[in-house]
């Protein structure tokens, strides 16, 4: 156990179903992120990266069997989470169109978690939360359908931050957005991390996004971490594992020769 770690997972395994039809979504995943650090999980569909994130967030369905250890600041993250523990770890979802309640106004989306955690001066907090993600007060009483994808993702980030977590889990936070909007959201996330000393765990299929956002990353395939890398190492030296190299090459655009190698 690493006492300086903010988030730590060791020997994590997640299986769905039982007996013959059981499916091991995560076979063996382990990593640790220091406080204020940013860690990326990269992989393709079926690699188990999102399952790892949901296991950390305590959002797996009750039928999932989780083995291994997850800790946040030394506290164990089990299946049942006290509200105070939930408050310290928040998540931003991939699809900004699905992660906001379609019948709730921005005001309610931001106000409800603040109220549940017994925070005071809710009106001020909502205003600050909006300002913090670069939106003015005129957004407060709008419904999600009145917002663009980028604005929705800003609201989702504001919702995660309004209860002042230490750790933010980001599940493909920009993959549903246009590149120009992606740049704005990534910049926003970086700024918020600096200002509030947040710890990020970021999941993405996009190696470029992860290398931009994170300091270290794990490449996952078929439920296992195949390689752990420093971003500096990713930039300068080629990764060691053939699969990581494949991902790197594929992220650099179309190449007929690479197409037949895979």
């Amino acid at each position: 156990m690493n006492p300086a770690a903010s988030v730590e997972a060791t020997g994590l395994q997640v299986a769905f179903g039982r007996g013959r039809r059981s499916f091991h979504a995560v076979r063996n995943a382990g990593f640790s992120v220091g406080a204020g650090g940013s860690f990326g999980l990269v992989g393709e569909s079926g690699s188990g990266k999102t399952t790892v994130l949901r296991a950390l967030a305590g959002l797996l369905p009750p039928t999932a069997q989780v083995r291994g250890r997850m800790r946040m600041h030394g506290e164990s993250l089990g299946a049942v989470r006290p509200r105070a523990l939930r408050r310290r770890m928040q998540m931003v979802f991939q699809d900004p169109y699905g992660s906001l309640h379609p019948r709730h106004t921005v005001d309610r989306i931001l106000g409800e978690p603040a109220r549940v955690h017994g925070l005071d001066s809710i009106d001020n907090r909502i205003g600050e939360a909006l300002a913090g993600v670069g939106l003015d007060a005129s957004f407060r009483f709008r419904y999600p359908h009145q917002l663009s994808g980028g604005q929705r993702q800003r609201i989702a980030i504001a919702r995660a931050l309004i209860i002042e977590p230490d750790v933010v889990l980001l599940d493909e936070p920009t993959s549903a957005l246009d590149v120009s909007v992606q740049a704005e959201i990534l910049n926003l996330l970086q700024r918020l991390r600096r200002e509030r000393a947040l710890t990020f765990v970021l999941v993405s299929h996009d190696l470029a996004v992860v290398s931009h956002m994170a300091e270290a990353l794990a490449v996952m395939r078929a439920g296992e971490v195949v390689e752990m890398l420093d971003v500096a190492a990713l930039r300068t030296a080629a990764p060691q594992h053939p699969y990581s190299r494949q991902l790197l090459r594929a992220s650099q655009g179309y190449d007929r020769a690479a197409g037949s190698e895979f």
Partner: protein
């Protein structure tokens, strides 16, 4: 007028209330484009108006016999004619609309909360709770509605309240099934997961996140079922098991008037037409509401 419209359509609402009004107004704009739905709402509005204004637009309460005026044909003095006891049929139909509304209202008040609560809890919680609640629902679903109502009325005695109770008890189960199906898909949606990850209590998630998303399909289904409920109530009235004479319940009026069907057709015809029109109105309204509210039929 244009100021109100601008207030309702602005992209920048200033308050919670304005945002809510906007949502209703936008729904109304969609609803308004559907001609038959507007006809439906007009019919239902007429029903409500008739019930409210009955004391002022009728000459009598329609219950006191006036044997000197028996079986008059429709005319200027009696628009819908008079019945076998000389009561004005127009007056009786108008007063009867109160009873119809009473039935409709009472059934809704019982059916919607029961169905919604059972369905949403079953769908959201899942597991053995779901199985238990759904078996219970199946039990009620398996009863033939009119027969159970008959048994119920036979046990508790005839009367409007008992008829309504019998109808309500046999008709909540489809609503529970609808609400459960919606809750099942909602349970996995990101916005519910987001609420859970924020530590919002399960009960609050069920009441303020899941239920509001299920209620529209339940309401649509209820409106479409309303015709059936009115007909069942009328059927019970016809069989003498619902409202008791001299209450001007439409089904009971038809039952008493059926002896005069050949010679004095207006006695059973007008309450019959009233049942037909109101049932049609609710059906049209339900279709329109489905277009506005049903999340599946919208983008």
């Amino acid at each position: 007028m244009s100021a109100v419209r601008a207030w309702l359509l602005t992209d920048i609402p200033q308050s919670r209330r304005q945002a809510q009004c906007q949502r209703l107004f936008l729904a109304w704009l969609v609803f308004r484009r559907n001609g038959s739905a507007v006809a439906g709402i007009a019919i239902v509005a007429t029903l409500v108006a008739g019930a409210l204004l009955a004391p002022w637009i009728t000459g009598s309460a329609g219950v006191t016999p006036d044997l000197g005026n028996r079986l008059h044909a429709p005319g200027l003095a009696h628009w819908f004619g008079t019945d076998e006891l000389g009561r004005d049929i127009f007056d009786r139909v108008m007063w009867g609309s109160r009873i119809t509304l009473y039935i409709v209202g009472l059934v809704s008040v019982i059916v919607v909360p029961i169905g919604l609560a059972i369905g949403v809890v079953a769908g959201y919680v899942g597991g053995w709770v779901d199985s238990a609640l759904m078996r219970l629902t199946d039990v009620f679903l398996a009863f033939p509605r009119l027969i159970l109502a008959l048994a119920f009325v036979a046990a508790l005695g005839p009367g409007l309240e008992n008829a309504v109770l019998a109808i309500a008890l046999t008709s909540w189960s489809p609503y529970a099934r609808i609400a459960r199906a919606e809750a099942l898909t909602l349970r996995r949606s990101d916005f519910i997961l987001a609420a859970r990850s924020q530590g919002i209590p399960h009960l609050q998630i069920i009441v303020s996140h899941v239920a509001p998303m299920c209620i529209s399909s339940v309401i649509v289904r209820l409106t479409l079922d309303m015709a059936g409920i009115i007909l069942t109530a009328a059927g019970l009235g016809f069989l003498g098991l619902g409202a008791q004479p001299p209450t001007p319940e439409w089904g009971a009026m038809i039952a008493l008037g059926r002896e005069y069907l050949l010679d004095q057709w207006w006695v059973p015809a007008f309450p019959g037409i009233a049942i037909l029109v109101v049932s049609l109105g609710f059906n049209l309204l339900g279709d329109g509401l489905r277009d506005v509210l049903d999340p599946k039929s919208r983008d």
